[in-house]
């Protein structure tokens, strides 16, 4: 399956992102993975809209600091808003809560750290960026599960949404292995 890229917006984000201090890289061909296909399947199964995949490193040390993810989110929002095109753009982020892969706490009956998950959902739902940044560090993210650094992509989305902005929709599913959480923000108000 091929998902069409929106190259004009991608070029805008790449050029302006570089100019704003984010050393973004790009690829002319990209095998997209579940981080892209799952939200498409969930939100737009027709898969008929062009996309601009943005990947971050939440996988291989050294990783950027959590605050850098928030800053990238703020910048992405500003760049989308400054794109000289009238089309509507949805910024979709995928990350996860506490998660363990390849370690002793993997594939449990629920996520490895339900208390972290509860607090994380509250940070995101309430837009509590300062509270989140005060507690989350690259080191601390090892505690809830060795793959929990993917939470920083949720922090990126907090940066997109803005300080103190409550999510319009919050849903959590306490599933096997990891808690799934869904948040939606409507910058122009919840559609009728």
């Amino acid at each position: 399956m091929t998902l069409r890229g929106e190259e004009d917006l991608a070029a805008h984000i790449l050029r302006q992102g570089l100019d704003r201090g984010f050393d973004l890289a790009f690829s002319n061909e990209l095998r997209i993975d579940h981080s892209i296909t799952c939200p498409i399947i969930t939100l737009r199964p027709q898969a008929d809209l062009p996309i601009v995949p943005v990947y971050t490193n939440i996988f291989a040390p050294p990783m950027p600091q959590p605050g850098r993810f928030v800053e990238l989110g703020r910048t992405l929002r500003a760049l989308v808003e400054s794109w000289p095109d009238e089309r509507r753009v949805a910024i979709i982020g995928t990350g996860h809560l506490s998660l363990e892969l390849g370690g002793p706490r993997q594939f449990g009956e629920h996520g490895p750290d339900p208390e972290f998950d509860r607090r994380a959902v509250e940070w995101i739902a309430s837009g509590d960026i300062d509270g989140c940044l005060a507690e989350v560090t690259l080191d601390s993210l090892h505690q809830p599960g060795n793959a929990t650094h993917g939470f920083m992509d949720f922090m990126l989305m907090m940066g997109v949404a803005g300080d103190g902005v409550r999510a319009d929709h919050v849903d959590t599913l306490d599933l096997f292995h990891t808690m799934e959480a869904y948040f939606t923000w409507y910058p122009n108000g919840v559609p009728e």
């Binding site: 996988f59 291989a60 040390p61 390849g102 370690g103 002793p104 594939f107 090892h142 060795n146 793959a147």
Partner: protein, 119 residues
């Protein structure tokens, strides 16, 4: 010690289904072949040049030969690379999620902080 070379082994084997099967059925022979033929390859570069400074310790070679995922974790091999390769090899012989759960259960004695995976 070379966490990087362990990761390079796990990464390159996992990306080649034929090599995954060879490693499953003949780990000793595959590790020896890999050390001879792939360890020195500069990935995505010309094969006319080879890196020469990396090699496995005896212990690293042993854990790869013995499919010892617990020891790989303890050595700081990237746990995602180990997990995906080992699932590719061994899930086939188990019921749904049976292998993944046993994989975790074999590591129950490992406490935080986990080994550093930085290469």
């Amino acid at each position: 010690m070379s966490k990087y070379l362990l990761d390079k082994f796990l990464f390159t084997v996992d990306r080649d289904p034929e090599l995954v099967e060879r490693y499953r059925t003949d780990p000793v022979g595959t590790v020896a072949w890999w050390e001879q033929n792939v360890a020195g390859q500069l990935l995505n570069c010309t094969t006319a040049e080879r890196t020469t400074w990396l090699s496995f310790t005896d212990e690293e070679r042993r854990v790869l030969q013995e499919h010892d995922h617990v020891a790989l974790f303890a050595m700081g091999a990237h746990p995602f690379l180990t997990l995906t390769l080992f699932i590719a090899m061994f899930e086939r012989d188990h019921g749904p999620l049976e292998y993944q759960r046993a994989y975790g259960a074999a590591m129950k004695h490992i406490a935080l902080p986990y080994p550093d995976i930085a290469t």
